[in-house]
Amino acid sequence: MDNPTHFSKQLRCGEVLYLILICVSFYLLVISRTDEARTVWEVLNPAFIPTLFTATFLLILILLSSEKTAHKLFLVITISILLHSFFAIIFPAGDSSGQQIALGRIRSVYDNFEPLTLTSPSKPLFSPLYEIFRGDHFQAALSVTLARMLSLDILGVHLFLVPTLWGIFVPVAAFLTARTLGGNDKACALASLIISVFPYITYFGAISVPNSLGFIFFFSSFPFLLRYVESRDSKSLFLTLAFSFFSFLSHFLTGIMSLSLILLAFMSKPYKGEKPTSLATRLIVTFVFCASLLPLSLVYFRFFRANSSTTFNLEKPAGLPIQEIVGMSLFGDFANSFNVLVPILTVIGPTLAFLYMVYLLHKLCRNHEARSKATHTFAFLAFLMISADYLILTLFMDELPFNSERLWVLRDFIATPFVAQAIFQLVSQTKRLSHAEFLRPPSLNHLRTVIKTGALRSLGILIILNIIIPSIIGGWLVLSLSAAYPQVASLQTTQYELDAVKYIEGNTHEKYVVICDVWTIYAGEVIVGISNPSAYYFDEFSQLGHELFTNMSREPSPKWMLSAMNLTYTAVAYFIVSEPRIGAEEFNRIITSVEEPLSLFYVSPNEKLYVFSYSSPQS
């Protein structure tokens, strides 16, 4: 290792090998792509996990070397994009979740149509304001502009938008945050990788929803907020405010949390001559005020959005057994997970970070001249505030518009630099031990013993540094993927459902309505959009659409189709049934009981999906 040229050659070889492994991993993901699957684990190529583990192992060695920061970050970005692209590459239409609903809305912007609304529920007072600022619009504007620039279909752009942006910008934000907290460049580079060991962070980086974009902007604002806390300069404040505004424009959750942190930063500024007790009181009051902003805003959300009825329920914990309260507080939804590893993986990172933060603050309290004291204290307060908000939302609130675990993404981001610093500290201590061993003069009397024990110890340290630590971090990262990507799920949107939707769209010249199950509605949303007046698929939450499908399944009669056509002012109606969604018996019963005037319009090549059509007698 003494010869820099030799070391540089080794490093380059390592980097080339790492890039080859990443390319192989991408290839393995692409060949795992399937027409029909429930989870990514069902179809993932068996060689993928060993390849990924080896690549991560190599990457950690590179990150702990003296390579240039830009090169390290480029390598981290490649693996980060890979880790967040599972859904986009493996499933034909991504994960069946909010991202398909988001794409359904974005389609209306891309194809420039006004969604047809069948019912007009009473709108709250500030509903127009909510409509302007809802995150869908910002994401739609970005996705549509990029799709037109790149001349790609909106489906592809939408699926890869967040994984790509997340893969590029989030490691950089983690690096900058760690650096602002005073981390060594190697620890900061480690932080940019360590962020992927948090399962909820990985999950939100893999789905294209407005909330994910909000998280990206929140993460980008955080290092500048820390810099503002440290130096109180106007440029950092401007950048913080700008990124926070866009995080608000993407999703109100991240916007409100950004606002809370900015207020916390403003009000935690110490004044000249202020007594420590006065500062402590002000900090406590500020902390309580900032922590209450999110719960209160959720309660008053009903003035902005229809069907929002979040309330405080202070009696909620009283009706729960103590072990359930502890389980919910620590593991959230994962408390009842089938796999015991999943809840452990969700808490191990934040717990490690919390302990290291307490240790650091204790150390900094003794050192009155420490420069990073303000930033560390602020990061600790932000971590506590988000954790407190999570507990309030989980234990004392009902009818939340989203699951409270989303706050973990923010908490884990703040935890990342501390976990990385803790690991780096361990590495440094081990290295120091190794140097100390070499520097110690051997005793002539026990030369042989010392050489033997010294060599053994050096070998042990070498193994710890180059094998055990990279293996543990690599293994942790790979294991956390099993918590990030669901192990159990319903059947995702299949290729033959997409093909059926495309076939209907390509072969119908009149306005049409489709009666189908909620899963085919997702397929319809990603191809023609939601509530498209020319190609109408009912909203996935529509009671009417659900009733029509149930009635058609029970009694495949034109009267239901006619009713759907009259409701949606269309000339043709289609009825889609697919075998995996309703079961073979029910499927066979339906397709044999369909009679004239309904006609068979399309059958998927694998005969798992049938489409029946009916035209209005007037047309």
Binding site: T69, F74, R148
Partner: protein, 152 residues
């Protein structure tokens, strides 16, 4: 409504991205810095005008060829020029790599923001999308020039 199959998109996207990144890595640090300085100095508005020229290429591609082979490199160059402008203005104190990355984030944000305003006022059809690209390029060019003048 033309629907392209997303089946073959991912390898194509990553192949183009990898080509771009390797080309960038082959340029050494000094060359990159010189290129960045040339772009930010924007002598005779040549890079701002290049940006508009690329918008014209994107418009032509969008209205006639609809080919990602033209769209992808054109968009990459367009975003890179404007990312360098904004990176220089807002993140001048950072290292070149961070300037480029954060500048890209700033420019994509600007693109989304302008698109959001156009969407709120009118709609985001094909012509409006081109308008968004022109406005975003103009804003980043103006910000860059103002910064240059304030720097003296």
């Amino acid at each position: 409504m033309t629907v392209q199959s997303s089946r073959n998109l991912s390898p194509r996207i990553y192949a183009c991205a990898c080509t771009f990144v390797f080309t960038m890595m082959n340029l050494n640090r000094f060359e990159l810095l010189r290129l960045e300085r040339r772009i930010t100095s924007d002598e005779k508005l040549q890079y701002s005008l290049s940006s508009y020229f690329i918008v014209a290429v994107i418009f032509l591609n969008q209205s006639s060829f609809q080919s990602p082979i033209i769209g992808l490199p054109a968009s990459l160059v367009y975003v890179s020029i404007n990312a360098v402008f904004l990176g220089h203005v807002f993140f001048g104190s950072q290292e070149p790599f961070f300037r480029l990355i954060l500048g890209s984030l700033a420019f994509l944000t600007l693109l989304g923001f302008v698109g959001w305003i156009v969407l709120a006022i009118y709609s985001l059809d094909e012509v409006a999308s081109i308008l968004v690209l022109v406005i975003a390029a103009t804003v980043s060019s103006i910000i860059n020039r103002r910064m240059k003048h304030s720097d003296g």
